[in-house]
C-alpha cells in the first residue's frame, strides 16, 4: 500500500526531526566549539593524552599510550634551580591529544599563541617531546594560556626531563583506571552550583574541557565529588589505605575494595596474599586483633599507583 496517504506526514516528520537536530546539535555545537581553552583544559589535555576510554593505543584500557607528568625543580637542560613547574613528557609514539592534532580545539587566541610562540607545530608523535603550559600577558593585562613545546623552545629533551624530574605523576594512565574501574559511576567530577562550592570547590567553567575525552562528569553521586579532591586530601598513605579497603579509614563507607589493582607483587617484589589479608582483617573486625593488617606498598608500575596519581593530581 505504500505511504501514499501519509506523504505530508512523512515530510513533516523529516522537517520536525531535522529542525530538532539543528537546534539541539548544530547550534550548541557551534557555541561550544567557539570556546577558548582555559589553563585547566591545556593541562588536562597534556596530562591525559589522546583518549582515556577505548582507543587504538590502549584497547584493553591498561593505561598505555599516555604522557608522563613530571614536576621539575631544576632546569633539565642547565641543571639550574628554578621555580617548581609541571612538564608533560610524550615519549616517542605516544598519541597526541586533540588540541595538538587539530587546529580548532584550543580556541583562536590560544591556538595562535601555541603555534607562534609555543612552537607547538614542531612536535610530532614519532619523536615525542616535552610540553609545558605557559601564559602570555598582553598590553591590556589579559592572560592567555598556551602550549609550549619545550623541546624546541627550551631544549628540554625527553631523557633530560625525566632525569631531572622531582616527581613523576602517571595521572594520564590513572584516568584510564578511573574510567575502566567505573569510579565515575559514584564520584562526579562536577561540583554543582552554590553550596557545593564550599565543600567541593569551584565548579568547572566553559573552557575547562576542550580536548578532553571522555569528560566523565558522572551523573550519580553515591559518593563525594572528586574534582578538587587532591586539594582536600593530599595524603598518599590515606589514599592507599582507602583504596585497599575503604573500611580501614571510613568504617561506614560503601566504596568497593580496589585491592586487586595492586597486582600480584608489592613494591619489594613479594607476593601479595589477599586471602590472608582478609582473614587478618576479619580477625581485627571481630576484635581478635588490636591492629588491622598492614596495607602492602604498591609497586611503582602497579595500576593502583596510576589511580592514586590521578586522584591526587585533581587539584
Amino acid at each position: 500500500m505504500g505511504f501514499r496517504e501519509y506523504r505530508i506526514g512523512s515530510i513533516m516528520f523529516g522537517v520536525a526531526l531535522s529542525a530538532s537536530m539543528v537546534i539541539t546539535i548544530y547550534m550548541p555545537g557551534l557555541d561550544i566549539s567557539s570556546v577558548s581553552s582555559t589553563e585547566t583544559a591545556l593541562e588536562k589535555q597534556l596530562t591525559y593524552g589522546n583518549n582515556s576510554g577505548f582507543d587504538y593505543g590502549d584497547m584493553f584500557l591498561h593505561g598505555d599510550d599516555k604522557p608522563i607528568k613530571v614536576i621539575l625543580k631544576k632546569n633539565p637542560k642547565t641543571g639550574a634551580e628554578m621555580d617548581e613547574m609541571a612538564a608533560y613528557v610524550f615519549e616517542p609514539g605516544t598519541s597526541f591529544p586533540s588540541g595538538l592534532k587539530h587546529d580548532n580545539i584550543l580556541g583562536e587566541d590560544v591556538q595562535a599563541l601555541s603555534v607562534d610562540v609555543g612552537k607547538m607545530k614542531d612536535a610530532n608523535v614519532k619523536d615525542g617531546g616535552v610540553f609545558v603550559v605557559s601564559t602570555s600577558v598582553n598590553a591590556k593585562g589579559v592572560e592567555t594560556p598556551y602550549i609550549e613545546f619545550a623541546t624546541t623552545t627550551r631544549g628540554w629533551t625527553i631523557a633530560a626531563t625525566l632525569a631531572a624530574a622531582d616527581q613523576t605523576i602517571l595521572a594520564g594512565s590513572g584516568k584510564t583506571m578511573f574510567v575502566r574501574e567505573g569510579c565515575w559511576w559514584c564520584h562526579t567530577l562536577l561540583p554543582e552550583q552554590t553550596q557545593d562550592w564550599q565543600s567541593f570547590g569551584r565548579p568547572p567553567v566553559l573552557g575547562d574541557f576542550n580536548g578532553e575525552s571522555p569528560t566523565t562528569f558522572g551523573s550519580d553521586r553515591k559518593a563525594p565529588d572528586l574534582l578538587h579532591v587532591g586539594s582536600r586530601n593530599s595524603s598518599r598513605e590515606w589514599q592507599m589505605m582507602h583504596f585497599f579497603n575503604p573500611r580501614l579509614v571510613q568504617p561506614y563507607s560503601i566504596m568497593p575494595r580496589y585491592d586487586y589493582l595492586w597486582g600480584p607483587k608489592d613494591a619489594a617484589g613479594n607476593d601479595i596474599d589477599l586471602n590472608k589479608w582478609d582473614e587478618e582483617f576479619e580477625a581485627y573486625r571481630v576484635g581478635d586483633r588490636v591492629y588491622p593488617p598492614d596495607v602492602p606498598e604498591y609497586a611503582a608500575d602497579s595500576e593502583i599507583r596510576y589511580l592514586i596519581d590521578f586522584v591526587l593530581n585533581l587539584k
Binding site: M1, F3, E5, Y6, A16, L17, S20, M21, T24, I25, M27, P28, D31, I32, A41, N51, G53, F54, F60, L61, S98, I105, V179, R180, E181, G182, C183, W184, W185, T188, L190, E192, Q195, D196, S199, P203, V205, L206, F209, N210, G211, E212, S213, P214, T215, T216, F217, S219, D220, R221, K222, A223, P246, R247, Y252, S253, I254, P256, Y260, L274
Partner: protein
C-alpha cells in the same frame, strides 16, 4: 528456532522471529535483573563477595544497564513489533528469516558487547558505554535489520490506513537509527570536551525519549483495544501524542547537564521543552485510560490488561517527575541523587516493563496458539514485579531526598551514606523480588509452549482466558 536460519522463507511459520525475541528477552530480563540485584547487594554490603574481581561493582553496573535496556526492553520491543506490525497490517512479516537472523545476531552482539564492558573495555560515556566497534555492530546488525523488517511489513500491509501503534513503531525505530549513529559520533570521530559530554546526554535522552517511551506506549495502544474490545478512544489524541513526541521529546537533552557549564540558552531551552513533554504524556495517559471505559473490571480479571494498565498508571508519576525535576530549582535539589535512580527505574522497570510484559504474555499465547499454562503464576509474577518495583522506587526516592537535603545543608558525605543504609537494603530486597519473579515467568512461558492448552481456530487467548 535455530533450524529456521537456513530454511526457505515460506517454510518458516509466522511468529518464529517474535518467539525467538520473546524467549531471549525474558532470559535477558533474568540476567539483567540478577546483575542489578547483585549490584544493589554490593551497595548495601560492600564487603560481601569481594573475591571475584570480575564481579566488581564498577564493571557490573553498566553491564546491568545494557543487559536490561538492549536485552530486555528493546528485545521485548522487537518481539512485540514483529507480531503486532503484521497483525495490524493484516499481512505476514516481511521476512521471518531476516527476523530469526536478527534475533540471533541480537543475542550474539549483546553477549559480545556485555563481555567487553564486563572486561573493562568502555568508551567511558554513560549509556553509550559500548566501545565503537560494538556500536557499529548494534547499528548495522541489530537495529537496522529490525527497522527494515518493520518498515517493509508496514509498506506491504493490506489495510488502507496505518494504525497508531504502527506509526510509532516505524517512527521510533527509524529515529533510533539516527539517534544511535549521531549520538555515537564522538566515538567514531573522537569529538572531545563539552561537545562529547553534551552528545553523550543527547544520546541518552533521545534513546529513552524517542525509542523506549513511545514504543512502550505504542504497545499499549495495541494491547488495550485488542484485549478489551473497545476501540481506541481517540485517534486525534493519538496524533497529538505522536507529533508532540517528535517535536518536544527530541529537544531537552541538555536538561541532563543542568549543573554543567553548557551555554545558558541551551539549558533554559531544554528546561522549557522538558516541561512540554507533559503534552504527549497527558495525551497518551488520557487516551488509554479513556479507552478502558466500561471495561475496568478487566483491570482486575485479565492479566494482560492488569500489566498494561499498571504500566500506564505508573506513567503518570513518571511524567510528572520527568516534566518538573529537570527545571533548575528542582534539579538543583535532586540532581545526582537516588531520586534520579528511582525515576530511571520508574520509567524502565515501572512503565515500560509492565507494558512490554503484557505484550510478551499476549504475543506468545497468540503465536503458540496455546492458553497460558498458569494464570496463578502470571499473577504471582505480576505481584512480585509490582511489589519489588514499588519497594525499589519508594526506598530510592527517600534515599534521594536524604541525599538532596544533605547536599543543600552540607552534611558530611559519610553521614549521608549511614542514613541511606536501610534504604539500600530495601532497594536490594525489591530488586531481588523482581529477579526471582522473572524465573516464575520463564517457567510459565516454557510450560505454556510445552503443555499449554491448545486454542481453537478463530479464538484469541484473552477470549478463553477463564474458560477451564
Amino acid at each position: 528456532m535455530l533450524k529456521y536460519l537456513f530454511a526457505k522463507e515460506k517454510d518458516i511459520p509466522g511468529g518464529t522471529a517474535a518467539m525467538f525475541f520473546g524467549f531471549s528477552c525474558i532470559m535477558w530480563f533474568i540476567i539483567g535483573t540478577g546483575i542489578g540485584s547483585f549490584n544493589a547487594a554490593k551497595l548495601a554490603f560492600p564487603d560481601w563477595f569481594t573475591h571475584l574481581y570480575a564481579l566488581q561493582f564498577g564493571h557490573m553496573r553498566q553491564v546491568h544497564v545494557h543487559a536490561v535496556i538492549f536485552g530486555w526492553i528493546v528485545g521485548a520491543f522487537a518481539a512485540s513489533a514483529l507480531y503486532i506490525v503484521p497483525a495490524l497490517g493484516n499481512t505476514k512479516l516481511w521476512s521471518e528469516k531476516l527476523g530469526v537472523w536478527n534475533a540471533l545476531l541480537w543475542n550474539l552482539g549483546l553477549m559480545l558487547g556485555l563481555s567487553t564492558l564486563w572486561f573493562g573495555m568502555t568508551s567511558g560515556r554513560e549509556y553509550s558505554d559500548f566501545i565503537w566497534p560494538i556500536d557499529l555492530y548494534i547499528a548495522f546488525f541489530m537495529v537496522i535489520p529490525l527497522f527494515v523488517n518493520i518498515f517493509m511489513s508496514i509498506l506491504h500491509r493490506r489495510t488502507q490506513g496505518i494504525y497508531t501503534t504502527n506509526w510509532f513503531f516505524a517512527g521510533s525505530f527509524f529515529m533510533l537509527i539516527i539517534v544511535f549513529l549521531i549520538g555515537n559520533l564522538p566515538e567514531f570521530f573522537h569529538l572531545t570536551g563539552l561537545n562529547e559530554a553534551y552528545m553523550t546526554w543527547w544520546f541518552a535522552h533521545n534513546v529513552l525519549g524517542l525509542l523506549i517511551t513511545p514504543v512502550a506506549a505504542a504497545i499499549t495502544y495495541y494491547i488495550v483495544p485488542k484485549v478489551t474490545g473497545n476501540p481506541l478512544y481517540s485517534h486525534r489524541v493519538g496524533h497529538l501524542h505522536f507529533w508532540s513526541i517528535v517535536v518536544f521529546y527530541s529537544t531537552p537533552a541538555a536538561h541532563h547537564l543542568m549543573s554543567s557549564p553548557l551555554p545558558e540558552w541551551l539549558k533554559s531551552f531544554a528546561s522549557v521543552e522538558g516541561v512540554l513533554i507533559l503534552v504527549p504524556a497527558v495525551a497518551y495517559v488520557c487516551n488509554i485510560l479513556l479507552t478502558m471505559q466500561g471495561r475496568w473490571s478487566m483491570f482486575v480479571e485479565n492479566v494482560e490488561i492488569k500489566y498494561t494498565i499498571t504500566g500506564v498508571l505508573l506513567a503518570i508519576p513518571l511524567n510528572m517527575q520527568g516534566g518538573f525535576q529537570q527545571t533548575r530549582a528542582i534539579n538543583w535539589y535532586v540532581h545526582g541523587t537516588g531520586w534520579i535512580v528511582a525515576h530511571a527505574h520508574l520509567a524502565l522497570l515501572g512503565f515500560s516493563t509492565f507494558a512490554e510484559a503484557a505484550a510478551v504474555y499476549y504475543g506468545m499465547q497468540t503465536i503458540l496458539r496455546r492458553k497460558l499454562y498458569s494464570l496463578s503464576l502470571a499473577n504471582f509474577h505480576f505481584w512480585m514485579l509490582l511489589i519489588g518495583f514499588s519497594l525499589y522506587w519508594v526506598s530510592m526516592t527517600i534515599a534521594g531526598l536524604i541525599q538532596g537535603a544533605a547536599k543543600i545543608y552540607e552534611v558530611p558525605y559519610l553521614d549521608v551514606v549511614i542514613a541511606e543504609h536501610p534504604y539500600m537494603i530495601v532497594r536490594w530486597i525489591g530488586g531481588t523480588m523482581v529477579f526471582l519473579g522473572n524465573f516464575v515467568w520463564l517457567y510459565n512461558m516454557y510450560m505454556t509452549a510445552k503443555v499449554g492448552e491448545k486454542l481453537e481456530d478463530g479464538v484469541l487467548p484473552h477470549e478463553v482466558a477463564y474458560v477451564r
